[in-house]
Subunit: 253 residues, 2 copies
Amino acid sequence: MPKPTADSAALGLGVDRTSPVPLYYQLARQLETAIEQGLLAPGSLLGNELELAARLGLSRPTVRQAIQSLVDKGLMVRRRGVGTQVVHSRIKRPLELSSLYDDLEAAGRRPATRVLRNTVEPATADIAAALGVAEGSDVHLVERLRYAYDEPMALLCNHLPPQLLDLGTERLESTGLYRMMRSAGITLHSARQTVGARAATVEEGELLDEAAGAPLLTMERTTFDDGGRAVEYGSHVYRAARYAFEFQLLVRP
Amino acid sequence: MPKPTADSAALGLGVDRTSPVPLYYQLARQLETAIEQGLLAPGSLLGNELELAARLGLSRPTVRQAIQSLVDKGLMVRRRGVGTQVVHSRIKRPLELSSLYDDLEAAGRRPATRVLRNTVEPATADIAAALGVAEGSDVHLVERLRYAYDEPMALLCNHLPPQLLDLGTERLESTGLYRMMRSAGITLHSARQTVGARAATVEEGELLDEAAGAPLLTMERTTFDDGGRAVEYGSHVYRAARYAFEFQLLVRP
DNA sequence: ACCTGCGAATTGTCAGGACATATAGTCGAC
DNA sequence: GTCGACTATATGTCCTGACAATTCGCAGGT
């Protein structure tokens, strides 16, 4: 028995029909935690769908929907005629579209922000194209210096469509841009990023406490909400010695 | 009527039941091309699911499955009580997990490869951890210099588990690593990447035709197949002036 | 003019069944 | 002993039907 079938009875699986949480979602969460806790060993086969549905008192489509969500996350693999098994290594989920502020705060690195500029300016051609507004129309411009542990970390230049947010300088210095968007009811959906590197200019070196010519990590990002509208275009530079991007790429067939 | 309902009859929608291609997939592709060609205007409402199913002679679950795949790609948004509409701006699909060789060839930049090393060595601790093998066990080591337009572009150092591929030096110089994997029946699934920057060492500068201290873009990547096994660990450096990473991040709720 | 409650429209969830198809193991013929 | 065909098994696809939850427009009252 090289690939044992998991004993689903021992996994504490079971749904609560009085809960407003969808049944497929309850099951998916339970399976996911079972995988994370090692109760479902990598490579082990999940019992077949019909049997699993019968034991839980669910229909097969519901069970399939739960399993499919885990397959989409890369936690499981289905093979016709064989069954569904847990992948061998832990594939972490794709990183959430995150803000630098949240990342730093989650790492306990005491983020701080100094606002260098906070104005409204006419959009240049490339910025208008990125945000999907008319060239020359007013856009917000925010330039910030981000610190961690009281040391400069990154220089952030962001452009936003007009009348999207109330960009008070005090709030900008106490929280992150994405958090302000979320609390304004904007649901972020995706972002297109370009990451590169270049040498620091003299001005950048002074602001970031680096020598001119020091390697910097650059990132340009356009962020879209769930309606597909661009809500932000950012042009950031990071001190290479203190920051790197970590993320996951998925193959989409 | 600020949000017109699309006239699906004019979109040439219709499925071929004699085809072995799944019906939901046929429909999804047709909708996707209609969006790309502008026949389905951004913001326009797709007719309701029941009516669409009736017109196409399909059941509602099949139509839902087709639409859901487009929603997952970020091309459409569903709202209960409202309908399904095309997102406002074109959100391009997340970039496929790609190899540098394929990228360069697709851009017509005449990629070439010089193999610097191609040996088997015992795994160090960090490489063993990345590949999920025992420390000290044999792993393949491949070091290559990648050219575009006869100019050096990147220095690629890759480690692979043993007996995964036949790594002939001649094949390595004529194609890319991922292409060799795919033709060996390996289905790539995802990759975890870390992207940063640093200054070039003297050796790197000589190989890449840059001065020592020039900014380089660095990338470390572990790639997994669909069974969750690590199939490659790469440590690459790119000339910053000639290369940048472009990719898309999705919010996963 | 504004607020409130009702109802129509639409997607979200779930059930149960039917048949198709790929996989792996077994059994038989050679 | 080896190779091929058959069969059991599991997922892939698709159908019909039903009810719940959410949104938005509209009528009515304040």
